[in-house]
């Protein structure tokens, strides 16, 4: 289970590093994107004007793309397992969604046992993966092929990129609230952001299926 008594290692060092990198890049990308898309003076001024904000946005996007790409290459087995986990939706996941994991007071019902990631985290995982792919597929043509593509295609890329950003920002805000603020689940915060460990008792409750599997392996 772990070398630390009463704790479970949930996120490895490289995963935590990648998460930190992605988070920092996401914040910079969001801030600069909002700044130069809506031409908000004070945001642009933080980066030295809209042109520099755009420049920072584009090169941060390179890190935003390359970081996870390198992580996947170095941790392919772990990533495959992650994809496998978030792609597996059981009856318990459906039931978790029906009760919204017990986070919403008026949705009554028993919260079923969950895997390493609950149904909400699985959906978030797919939102982040697909959202990032859309960012990459629309963002790089907007930058590198802006002189070669048709205006209609450029408009399409900007529109998709914009709405992708709106959805991703809302998703990340929700993720932050549940992972860092909500009393039921904020124990996750230190796991991903600091040492990677999460309390065994909490895991046994929140991720009972995964905890049971870990116990079997031990």
């Amino acid at each position: 289970m772990s070398d630390v008594k009463g704790k479970v290692l949930k996120h490895g060092e490289q995963t935590r590093t990648m998460h930190w990198l992605h988070l920092i890049c996401f914040l910079i990308l969001g801030l600069t994107g909002i700044g130069f898309y809506w031409n908000i003076g004070w945001i642009n001024d933080l980066f030295g004007g809209p042109a520099n904000a755009s420049l920072v946005h584009r090169w941060t996007a390179v890190v935003f793309t390359a970081g996870p790409a390198i992580y996947i290459l170095l941790n392919f087995e772990r990533f495959s397992k992650f994809i496998d986990t978030i792609s597996t939706f059981t009856r318990d996941d459906i039931q978790w969604l029906k009760t919204m994991g017990g986070y919403i007071p008026f949705l009554k019902g028993k919260v079923p046992p969950q895997d390493k990631y609950n149904a909400g985290q699985k959906i978030l995982g797919w939102v982040v993966i697909l959202g990032c792919l859309l960012f990459i597929l629309t963002g790089f043509p907007m930058w590198l092929w802006r002189h070669a593509v048709s205006p209609a295609f450029l408009d399409f890329c900007y529109t998709v990129h914009f709405w992708d950003a709106m959805i991703m920002m809302l998703a990340v805000l929700g993720h932050f609230f549940l992972a860092a603020i909500h009393p039921q689940s904020r124990v996750e915060f230190s796991s991903m952001m600091l040492d990677g460990y999460v309390d065994a008792g909490v895991t046994a409750h929140h991720n009972a299926k995964w905890f049971a599997n870990l116990s079997k392996l031990e």
Binding site: Y37, H147, L154
Partner: protein, 386 residues
């Protein structure tokens, strides 16, 4: 600052700084880094509007003369006449859901009458005048080149066409040494203006000060052209206002006219019939083909059996052809080498050859917009297709 210096095209605050326009602008007039609002250098801008129709966010606009036209139409003391370029009739229908290329000439005339224009003429007659002037000038230059007496004062060869105002400003700004090579004939729009304010005004018994001439053009540079200070051959401003195909469509919609169901009408008759050569003015190679038809007939004394000269047609940016024209007066046949350039980005190499004295051509047509006036900066914008 006069109207020409004010400029026709400008970037609005909606600019997202996508930077697409800098690759569209042939003169390098647009500057700006990605992410910041771009700017147009009016000294370099040729007012062609290609950046406008290619802006993904409709963040570039042209100066509007629509309010001026509306005020003129509402003024009972003014006699308002209108001319429409050939490229307008095949694009206007797109704004009303008709297939691209649908010829709505008859409905356009009907709509213009319902908008209150006192006379609805067509630019085609003036296009015929332009081509007769340009064709005759070409013959004079060829005769000078051949050493025929009496043509010593004609300009040098090759002769360039002169009806595209964006091309003219480009040549003036970048290649002033080329100006003697450019035909001295005015564009059809600017030939129509003085005819309206002199001949037509006299015929209609309207004082020129009370005549207001409007052009409907596929081109934003025509707004610049009508404001050039020398365009006062009639003694007054020859063309008072220019509106684009897009603007005409907007006015028709605003007036609540059911354009698609309008009956077909004909234009008012200014002088007489116009030719098919005038109709093809709006597409690349059209002016060349029209001029060659004229030059052939004038030089050979024969009627051209087959009027379509397919070897100057097409969409390749630079096309060349040789047309054998029998010259009756000299008793010999002259192979006339012609060149057609569509898209101003492709013209520099041709010009440099001319200025270096190495050009093999007698006549060169230049149109700023790719494909010609049918793809002008004032035409409908189709984001669903491009």
């Amino acid at each position: 600052m006069n109207a020409v210096e004010v400029g026709i095209i400008r970037v609005t605050s909606s600019c997202k700084g996508c930077d697409h326009c800098t690759s569209i602008c042939a003169t390098g007039a647009i500057s700006g880094e990605m992410g910041e609002k771009h700017h147009i250098d009016l000294k370099k801008c040729i007012s062609c509007g290609q950046c406008l129709i290619n802006c993904p966010f409709s963040a570039i606009e042209d100066t509007s003369m629509v309010d001026t036209v509306k005020r003129a139409l509402a003024d009972p003391d003014l006699f308002v006449v209108v001319q429409e370029a050939p490229a307008v009739r095949v694009a206007l229908g797109e704004e009303f859901g008709l297939a691209p290329g649908t010829n709505v000439k008859g409905k356009m005339y009907a709509a213009l009458r319902r908008l209150g224009f006192d006379r609805v003429y067509d630019t085609e007659f003036a296009a015929d005048l332009t081509i007769m002037e340009e064709g005759t000038e070409l013959i004079h230059r060829v005769f000078k080149h051949l050493g025929v007496a009496g043509f010593e004062h004609a300009g040098p060869l090759p002769q360039f066409t002169s009806c595209c105002p964006a091309w003219i400003k480009y040549a003036e700004d970048k290649f002033p040494d080329l100006l003697p090579h450019i035909s001295s004939a005015k564009s059809p729009q600017q030939m129509f203006g003085p005819i309206a304010k002199t001949y037509a005004a006299q015929k209609l018994n309207v004082h020129p000060t009370k005549m207001f001439v409007v052009s409907v053009m596929p081109c934003t540079a025509k707004k610049y052209e009508c404001n050039r200070p020398e365009m006062m051959a009639s003694g007054y401003k020859d063309v008072d206002a220019v509106i684009t195909t897009r603007e005409l469509a907007a006015i028709i919609k605003e007036a609540g006219i059911d354009f698609v169901n309008l009956p077909d009408e004909t234009a008012d008759n200014l002088v007489g019939l116009s030719t098919g050569a005038a109709t093809i003015f709006g597409t690349t190679g059209g002016v060349m083909e029209a001029a060659l038809r004229t030059a052939y007939e004038l030089l050979s004394g024969q009627t051209l059996g087959k009027v379509e000269l397919h070897n100057v047609r097409g969409l390749k940016p630079v096309r060349e052809a040789t047309i054998d024209i029998p010259i009756k007066d000299l008793g010999r046949t002259l192979p006339v080498n012609v060149c057609v350039v569509t898209g101003i980005k492709h013209v520099d190499g041709v010009i440099e050859e001319v200025l270096a004295g190495r050009s093999p051509y007698h006549f060169i047509e230049v149109m700023n917009c790719p494909g010609g006036c049918v793809n002008g900066g004032g035409q409908p914008i189709r984001r669903d297709t491009y």
